[in-house]
Amino acid sequence: MIEFNSVSKVYRGQRALADLNFLLDRGEMAFLTGHSGAGKSTLLKLIMLIEKPSNGEVLIDGQTLTKVRGSNIAKLRRNIGFVYQSHHLLSDRNVFDNVALPLMVAGFHHRDIARRVRAALDKVGLLSKEKQNPATLSGGEQQRVGIARAVVNKPPILLADEPTGNLDPQLSAEIMQLLHDFNNAGVTLLIATHDLALIAKMPHRSLILRQGQLIGGGHLSDNAAIERNAPADLGGHS
C-alpha cells in the first residue's frame, strides 16, 4: 500500500532521510519511531505529498507520487486520513463542521455528509458534542474529533503524527485502541510516535529511524528482531 524505494530527502544541504526502503502492506498497522529530528515527520510529509523526495520514489497503491501534480495532489490526499499531535481543528466552527470538512471538500451530498459525520462522531464517542466548539472540549476529546475528521471519508490509509503526544497515559491508551479499531476494519495505519511504552503493548511492526536512516523494521523478516531491539535502542531518548 505504501512503498518507499531508495528515498532520500535533503533540506538545504541537510540530509533528512537517506536511502529509505520499506513496504507497508494493505491493511497493515505499523509504528514509526525515532527521537525528535530523526525524520518521522518528513517521512509522513512525503506520503502526504507535502514534500517531494530528493531521490527515489514513493508509491501509494502502485502510483508513483512524484508524477502526481496539480489538483490530483488534492484528490490523492482525500485517500489519506491524517491525525496530528496538535489536531488542527478550526475554532470558527463547531465539531460537526470540522469533521464535515473532508466531505465538503470532496463534494459529498449534504445528506451523505450528515450521515457520515454522525457515524464518525459516534465511532469516537462524541456524537453528543457535535454542536460544541472544539475549543470547549478536553485535549482527549479534541484528539478524537481530529480522528473522526481523519476517518470520516473512509480513507484506505490513516497516518498519525504523535497522536498521543499531549495526552496522559490513560487517554493515550484509549486513542491507540481507537486507531487499532480502524486497523481492524481494514485501514492501513502508520503511526509516528515515541511513546515506546504504548508500542510495546501492541503487536505491530516498528519502523525505526535514526538520523534519517531506517535502522530497523524495513522488512517484514526483520520484525521480530526489531521489536525486541526497539525499546532498548531508543530507551535513552523517549
Binding site: 502526504m48 490526499r77 485517500n79 470558527d92 471538500v105 451523505d112 471519508n153
Partner: protein, 334 residues
C-alpha cells in the same frame, strides 16, 4: 481490506451528474452566503472599504450623468447633427389639419430616404406649441393662450448621422430638403454642433481615463482586502488543503468575497448617484421658477445602472482572482 484500486475508494462520492451538479450548486450557494456573512463580522472595516469602493465607482458615474445632463440642456445629441426643416403654413383652402399632418408625415418618410439621414420626426404645429409650453413653463401659458392662432409652423426634425464628412453631407442634404415645395426653410448649426461634439468627446475621454484609473483602484482595494482575508484564514486554508481541497475549492470563498465587495460598493455608488441627482432636482427648482422654464433632468438609466453594477462585481472577481491565484496556491501545508 477490499482489493479495489485506491482511486475508486469510498473517499469520493459516487453521484450521478445531476447530483454532482446539485452538490456543486449547493456548495456555491453556501460559499456565497458565508462570504457575505463574513463581511459583517468586522462591520467598521467593511464599511470603510465599501465607502472607498463606492466613491471610486460613483465618481465616473456622476461625471457620466453630468455630461448627459449638460448635453440635454444645450440640446446636443450624440446621435448626430440635428436639422430642422420648417414647413409652409397650411395654405390650401378647405384642407383639414389632419390631412395636412398626414401629408407632413408622408414628406418626413420621403426625407428619411435621402442619403445621410439617420432619423426623422414630423412635428405638427400643435406638437410644437405643446413643446414650447413645456419648455417655457407655467408662466407662459397665459401668453400663449392669448394668441389668436398658433403662430408656429409644422416641422420635420432630421438627424444627420455622424461621420467624417458630416459637413459636406449636411450641406448637401440641406440643399436637397430646401428645394422641396412643402419646405420653407432648413436650419442647422454645424459649427456649434462640431464644437459641442469636440467638448463632449473630450469630457467623455477624460471620463474613460478616470474610469480606467478608478477601476484599477477598485481592483486594488478589493485585492488588498482579499489578501488580508486570506492571511487571517490561513489555518483554515491549510487544513482544507490537508484534507484534500483543491486550489479552486480554497479560492472559492475569496472569489465570492471579491464579487460581494464589488457589487455592494456599486450598489452604494448607485445610491450616492441617485441621491446627488435628487439633490440636483432640489436645487434646480428655484432656478426653474426664477427663469420660468422647465429643466429636464436626465437620470441614470436602468441599463447603465445594471452595467455599472455588473462591471463592479466583475472587477471584484478579477481583483480577488489575481490575489488568490498567487496567494492560495503558494499556501501549502508544511
Amino acid at each position: 481490506m477490499r482489493d479495489t484500486p485506491l482511486k475508486q475508494g469510498a473517499t469520493s462520492p459516487m453521484l450521478s451528474w445531476r447530483d454532482q451538479l446539485r452538490v456543486w450548486r449547493d456548495s456555491h450557494r453556501l460559499f456565497a452566503k458565508q462570504s457575505f456573512d463574513r463581511l459583517w463580522e468586522k462591520p467598521l472595516a467593511t464599511l470603510v472599504t465599501l465607502t472607498m469602493l463606492a466613491i471610486a465607482i460613483a465618481l465616473p458615474t456622476l461625471l457620466h450623468l453630468g455630461v448627459k445632463n449638460v448635453s440635454s440642456w444645450v440640446s446636443y445629441s450624440d446621435s448626430g447633427l440635428e436639422m430642422t426643416a420648417y414647413l409652409h403654413m397650411p395654405t390650401v383652402p378647405g384642407q383639414s389639419i389632419t390631412d395636412f399632418n398626414s401629408e407632413g408625415q408622408a414628406l418626413a418618410l420621403r426625407v428619411a430616404q435621402l442619403s445621410g439621414v439617420k432619423q426623422v420626426e414630423f412635428i405638427s404645429a400643435e406638437d410644437a406649441l405643446l413643446r414650447l409650453e413645456a419648455i417655457a413653463g407655467a408662466g407662459s401659458i397665459d401668453i400663449i393662450d392669448s394668441l389668436p392662432a398658433n403662430p408656429l409652423p409644422a416641422a420635420i426634425r432630421v438627424v444627420v448621422g455622424q461621420g467624417p464628412e458630416l459637413a459636406s453631407i449636411a450641406n448637401a442634404l440641406a440643399q436637397q430638403i430646401e428645394v422641396l415645395p412643402e419646405v420653407e426653410s432648413v436650419r442647422f448649426n454645424l459649427e456649434w454642433f462640431q464644437k459641442a461634439q469636440a467638448i463632449v468627446q473630450l469630457v467623455l475621454r477624460i471620463n474613460l481615463a478616470a474610469s480606467v484609473l478608478l477601476g484599477m483602484g477598485v481592483v486594488l482595494v478589493i485585492g488588498n482586502t482579499v489578501r488580508v482575508s486570506i492571511a487571517s484564514r490561513r489555518e483554515e486554508i491549510l487544513v482544507a488543503k490537508l484534507v484534500g481541497a483543491t486550489n479552486a475549492y480554497a479560492r472559492r470563498p475569496f472569489l465570492y468575497l471579491g464579487v460581494w465587495l464589488g457589487a455592494t460598493g456599486a450598489a452604494m455608488a448607485l445610491i450616492i448617484s441617485f441621491a446627488c441627482m435628487y439633490a440636483l432636482t432640489y436645487y434646480i427648482k428655484p432656478l426653474e421658477a426664477a427663469y420660468s422654464t422647465n429643466i429636464s433632468i436626465q437620470r441614470l438609466s436602468a441599463d447603465t445602472a445594471l452595467v455599472i453594477f455588473l462591471a463592479s462585481a466583475g472587477l471584484g472577481w478579477v481583483g480577488s482572482w489575481v490575489i488568490c491565484s498567487n496567494q492560495i496556491s503558494k499556501l501549502e501545508p508544511e
